[in-house]
């Protein structure tokens, strides 16, 4: 429109304006920024202005989701509830997002691929490049070199070469997938949090038993069988064993007894150091038995979408979600 020739600057500006009203009019009907809250689909809807549980906002008629969820901390391996803690809903009570879990599992699978498959092309197959037979007069098909892909022993036309199958994922999405997986387990009652220092104690008589001559002569086999029976008994008694769909035990560091014993009975469960855990591991087996320290580590290292990168000068504002407050002990 401006190309048709503007008579004056004012008219040209008016023609460029997209709205049917002037800027001054538009200001009056603009959405007030105080009430406009941008939210993600995955986010638990927050009550406006209230970010802590003890908000003394006026009573409202609509239901509000809890900001924290209770978590029982058990003793291991006696399974005795010892403490009740409150954890943030954004850590352990996120809604299930199968799509995000799928993204994370595929990402992990891609990056786990070794990608070392390799075959030789015709230029890498060894041998002479002399012409196999004369071009004409033999009644046979033309043949150049032995390495030709159509000949036996020849190179591979489009064979595999070592490559990186790794893909990328947005870090915030991956972190959300971690907490979504934990939340899914939590809501299904399949997240058993145990106190720090999770280790499988062997019976007190076991050491004395190992010292006896008969055990020494029988070799390590009988001691391993003892450990296997013991760990099976522990898991079956707590309903964590094979009949209950196996269990994954996650600790913050390697625990000799627990790891060695569970290696003996792979059908009853598996033990993982927290550094070796992936989202896929959290979704496998019947339940996750995790040390409190390890759970805290997993959550703290996967909350990039919750912790802002900018510095918040006002200390009164909660800058991060708090988990692990003791309710009952």
């Amino acid at each position: 429109m401006a190309a048709k020739g503007a008579r004056g600057l004012n008219e040209a500006m008016k023609a460029l304006s997209l709205a049917s009203h002037t800027c001054r009019e538009a200001t009056s009907i603009r959405i007030p920024s105080a009430t406009f809250i941008r939210s993600m689909a995955t986010e638990v809807p927050l009550p406006t202005g209230a970010t802590n549980t003890n908000s003394s906002s006026p009573p409202s008629s609509f239901w509000r989701p809890a900001m924290t969820v209770p978590v029982t901390v058990f003793n291991f391996p006696s399974y005795e509830p010892q403490r009740l803690e409150s954890w943030s809903s954004k850590h352990l009570n996120l809604p299930l997002r199968r799509d995000i879990l799928h993204l994370a599992v595929v990402y992990e699978g891609d990056n786990t691929r070794q990608g070392t498959a390799s075959s030789k092309t015709r230029y890498e197959v060894s041998g002479t490049h002399r012409k196999v037979q004369a071009q004409k007069g033999l009644g046979r098909a033309r043949a150049g070199t032995r390495q030709s892909p159509i000949r036996r022993g020849g190179g591979k036309s489009f064979g595999p070469k070592p490559r990186d199958f790794g893909t990328k994922i947005t870090r915030k999405v991956y972190d959300l997938a971690w907490r979504t997986a934990l939340s899914y387990r939590y809501r299904r009652g399949e997240l058993v949090v145990c106190q720090d220092g999770m280790e499988l104690p062997l019976p007190p008589d076991f050491e004395a038993l190992l010292e006896s001559r008969g055990m020494r002569e029988s070799g390590a086999e009988i001691a391993a069988r003892f450990r296997a029976k013991w760990v099976k008994q522990v898991l079956d008694t707590n309903d964590w064993g094979r009949k209950a769909g196996r269990s994954t035990f996650i600790t913050s560091s390697h625990r000799d007894n627990l790891f060695e014993c569970l290696d003996l009975v792979p059908n009853w469960g598996r033990a993982l150091d927290v550094e070796d855990v992936d989202v896929k591991d959290l979704l496998e087996t019947g339940r996750i038995v995790v040390e409190r320290d390890a759970l805290m580590h997993m959550i703290e290292s996967h909350q990039s979408d919750l912790v802002p990168k900018v510095f918040v000068p006002n200390a009164a504002l909660p800058s991060r979600q708090v988990s692990g407050e003791i309710l009952v002990e």
């Binding site: 019976p203 038993l209 008969g214 055990m215 009988i222 003892f226 522990v234």
Partner: protein, 402 residues
């Protein structure tokens, strides 16, 4: 097959200094060597473990000597300790003597707590030590009996006594009967509020003993527990006695969570339930400390654990009972239909099979399968499955590997 290397003749057969180190003991030493241990054994289950070994020794030893001179069981019985042949007595005494020494010195062969270690290895006497001139040692394992092995050592009840089993906070069997769950919750509520009335707040989160007699328990459950309009709870009994019962006595081991299982039967609990005032279900559990104590005690008594995400919804006894009594989700769809929707099975136009209907099932339904079976039999073909043909047989053949 562990025995074979032991049976093989040692290569350095010449030295005999280590073999015979003490004079030959008579058969009477057998009983002397084992008598103190069999009598001092406190548990009767362990006693037979040591005693028969002395009587069964001669047969074992004779097997070590020669494969050609296996004595029959009748011969073994006739070999009285006093009148035994010299060839039998000599090695028996020697090995038993070694055992005796070990037992004396280190206590070998004795149970360690509830567990029993395997007996130390015993060596057969060498050829030079046997006085019998006809003795011919076995050179191969053929014809020898297989003895020993520790593959299923810990599966034998004698070697792993029940006292050695792992004891969890949770009972071994989960209680699912509705009346027993009611009784356990009522018991937990009474005990928790009794402790609070006494003022023992710290004990609310501890572990309480479960030892109570059936009569005491029934008396406790029959208390007239009431909840007033304002939420005040009246127990209808003496809180002090209940609180006393929740203290660990000296003779009770605090590590043993469930010393005596609850002896209440479902029928008794159901009869008791009829006498209860309904207002007890309105008792508030909104105090997190009370709720924690009650759910923990219920878990200890019944094995029913309230999932964490449902804890916040439990505000009264009624909601707790609702959560605990909710039946578990059926594992399979078949199970769900059979248990929860049995009326669907009665429909005239619906057929229900617990597994997939295959081609064979259809043939059986038509009555054609018997004819097929006969024809298959005539041709020597298997009636079920593929017989010798492996699963990927065709694939292997087509790819030229076969």
């Amino acid at each position: 097959m562990r025995r074979i290397p032991r049976l093989r003749r040692p290569s350095g057969l010449t030295s005999s200094a280590t073999n015979i180190s003490r004079p030959i003991a008579g058969a009477s030493n057998i009983t002397q060597a084992f008598a103190p241990f069999s009598s001092s054994s406190s548990r009767p289950a362990i006693t037979p473990r040591t005693t028969p070994s002395s009587s069964s020794k001669p047969s074992h030893i004779s097997r070590f000597y020669s494969s050609q001179q296996n004595p029959t069981p009748a011969q073994e019985q006739t070999h009285e300790p006093g009148t035994a042949l010299q060839t039998d007595v000599q090695p028996t005494a020697r090995i038993v003597d070694e055992f005796g020494e070990d037992l004396d010195l280190e206590g070998e062969g004795l149970p360690v707590g509830p567990f029993m270690a395997p007996r130390p290895r015993a060596e057969a006497a060498r050829r030079e030590e046997v006085a019998d001139p006809d003795y011919e040692p076995a050179t191969t394992a053929a014809g020898l009996k297989k003895v020993g092995g520790v593959a299923d050592w810990w599966q034998q009840p004698d070697n792993w006594a029940p006292e050695g089993d792992f004891v969890s906070f949770r009972p071994r069997e989960k209680v699912v009967a509705s009346s027993l769950i009611d009784a356990a919750v009522r018991r937990a509520v009474i005990e928790t509020f009794a402790l609070r009335q006494i003022g023992r707040e710290d004990d609310l989160v501890g572990v309480w003993p479960t030892t109570v007699s059936n009569a005491d328990l029934q008396h406790l459950l029959a208390w007239d527990v009431k909840c007033a309009e304002d939420g005040a709870v009246t127990l209808g009994g003496d809180a002090t006695t209940v609180a006393d019962g929740l203290t660990w006595k000296d003779d009770q081991d605090s590590g043993d969570y469930a010393a005596v299982p609850e002896a209440l039967t479902a029928d008794e609990a159901a009869a008791l339930r009829e006498t209860w005032d309904q207002s007890w279900k309105a008792i508030s559990l909104s105090d997190p400390r009370i709720r924690f104590a009650v759910t923990k005690r219920v878990f200890q008594l019944t094995g029913q654990l309230v999932p964490d995400h449902q804890l916040s919804s439990i505000t009264t006894v009624k909601t707790l009972l609702h959560v605990l009594k909710k039946p578990p989700k059926p594992v399979t769809f078949t199970e769900e239909v059979q248990k929860r929707h049995p009326e669907l099975l009665e429909l005239p136009n619906v057929t229900f099979t617990p597994r997939r209907v295959t081609r064979g099932d259809k043939e059986i339904a038509l009555g054609r399968f018997q004819l097929m079976q006969d024809e298959l039999k005539k041709r020597g073909l298997p009636a079920h499955g593929h017989g010798w043909a492996s699963k990927g047989g065709d694939l292997t053949r087509m790819s030229g590997k076969m």
